[in-house]
């Protein structure tokens, strides 16, 4: 097996593309980690679906205010310039195109930009939350994910086989091996781990990787 990035390293890479002052929604779970890796001198404003703009890190244990939580129901704190609002206003921000970036997890991403990240099939209790809303409206919808599933199957595919979250919505994927844009119905490779050959990357990808200009080395710090 080739070298792969850790979740923290994938999150770090995604964080490098977030501009100072950007309004950002991070999906529940793994994507929340992106907030930790904002480059020095940049400050994004984080939005949570349940009605806060500009929340900050978790409080110290024992200091939680359970009225002050994020969409993952974890306690958060406020930064200066925060605002509260109700759910309809919150999703107006999402659906209305006011967020600069939404970063989400994925079960599968298709070369068409389709995303499957809410259901692994008919078993169990279905639960969608805000996932289907978040894939619409943000100026840029990015995914962070391992390049393949735990049992080695591609997560980047020609067509999603799992239930869709949204159609044609993802524009960039940060994986444990590469940074890939989605444009014109294709995966366009932008960066890959320097130790990984294009052929080896293609072998772990379920759809053809296109090139459009040079492929940069995907270099991240040890975290």
């Amino acid at each position: 097996m080739s070298e792969t990035l850790s979740n923290a390293q994938i999150a770090w890479r995604a964080a490098q593309d977030i501009a100072d002052g950007a309004y950002v929604n991070l999906g529940i779970g793994f994507p929340e980690m992106v907030a930790k890796f904002q480059p020095p001198g940049r400050q994004a404003i984080f939005h949570t679906e349940n009605g806060i703009l500009n929340f900050g890190e978790a409080p110290a244990p024992g200091e939680e205010d359970w009225d002050l939580i994020n969409a993952g129901k974890k306690a958060v704190t406020l930064k200066p310039g925060a605002a509260f609002f109700h759910h309809a206003d919150s999703f107006a921000m999402v659906r209305g195109g006011h967020l600069d970036v939404a970063i989400l997890g994925a079960y599968q991403v298709a070369e068409t930009g389709d995303l499957a990240n809410w259901s692994t099939g008919p078993k169990g209790v279905p639960a969608v939350g805000g996932a289907m809303d978040l894939v619409h409206g943000a100026k840029r919808v990015a995914v962070i994910t391992d390049h393949v599933t735990k049992d080695g199957k591609p997560k980047l595919v020609e067509r999603c086989t799992l239930p869709l979250t949204g159609v044609g919505c993802v524009t960039r994927v940060y994986t444990s091996l590469a940074v890939i844009d989605i444009a014109g119905g294709h995966f366009v490779l932008r960066e890959k781990l320097p130790t990984l050959s294009l052929e080896a990357l293609q072998a772990q990808t379920g759809a053809k990787l296109y090139l459009d200009g040079p492929v940069a080395d995907l270099i991240v710090p040890e975290i």
């Binding site: 679906e49 009225d67 109700h86 759910h87 659906r95 209790v125 969608v128």
Partner: protein
Amino acid sequence: MDKTVPNLATAVAGIHDGATVMIGGFGGSGAPIELIHALIDRFRATGHPTGLTVVNNNAGNGHVGLAALIETGMVAKLICSFPRSADPVVFTELYKAGKIELELVPQGTLAERIRAGGAGIPAFYTPTGYGTDLAAGKKIEEFDGRPYVQERWLKADFALVKAERADRMGNLTYRAASRNFGPLMCMAAAETIVQARTVVDPGAIDPEAVVTPGIFVQKIVEVTAPQQEETLNRAGAVH
């Protein structure tokens, strides 16, 4: 004008069998625990109300609040966006046993449908859900070359909402992110029942600071030390 009622039992006394009841809160934040427990107590004492349709973002946690309400069997149908959570055994078991119906709605669509119900908008179009299983069978229309899903308003017979301050005319403020669905549900219910930590006289809330204007509120009960679902669950509470 005084919309306060003397106690929780009186506040929930009018909720009838088969009613649609919106319950505020996102997880435990904004969950009107005392109103829910009053409803459960009434059911245990009288066998009513039953066959309820409940609208909430979630399906409750542990064995208090919404989870406890579902556990009693009073709820025939749940309309929500995320019925999975840290300790979802109550809903999960009833759902798998076919004893409770689920209408799964994307969270933003749920919020917008409730607002539409309150605002007299019978239907609207949203990009959310297009091309997914949750739009199956729904009307699709194209605007400016992009397809959208038609969604219908959602109204309720009752709403149970937790506020921070209420004046006797029903003007409300909320606390932090517990605001979430509260202002929307107040609009969408024929009878909105509010538990407020403090009830004040009209004029005590700055007209600029009112989040829910009193026109959307019918009954108010003061609950000066409201319980928090998260805290109850960490203590292993069972209602």
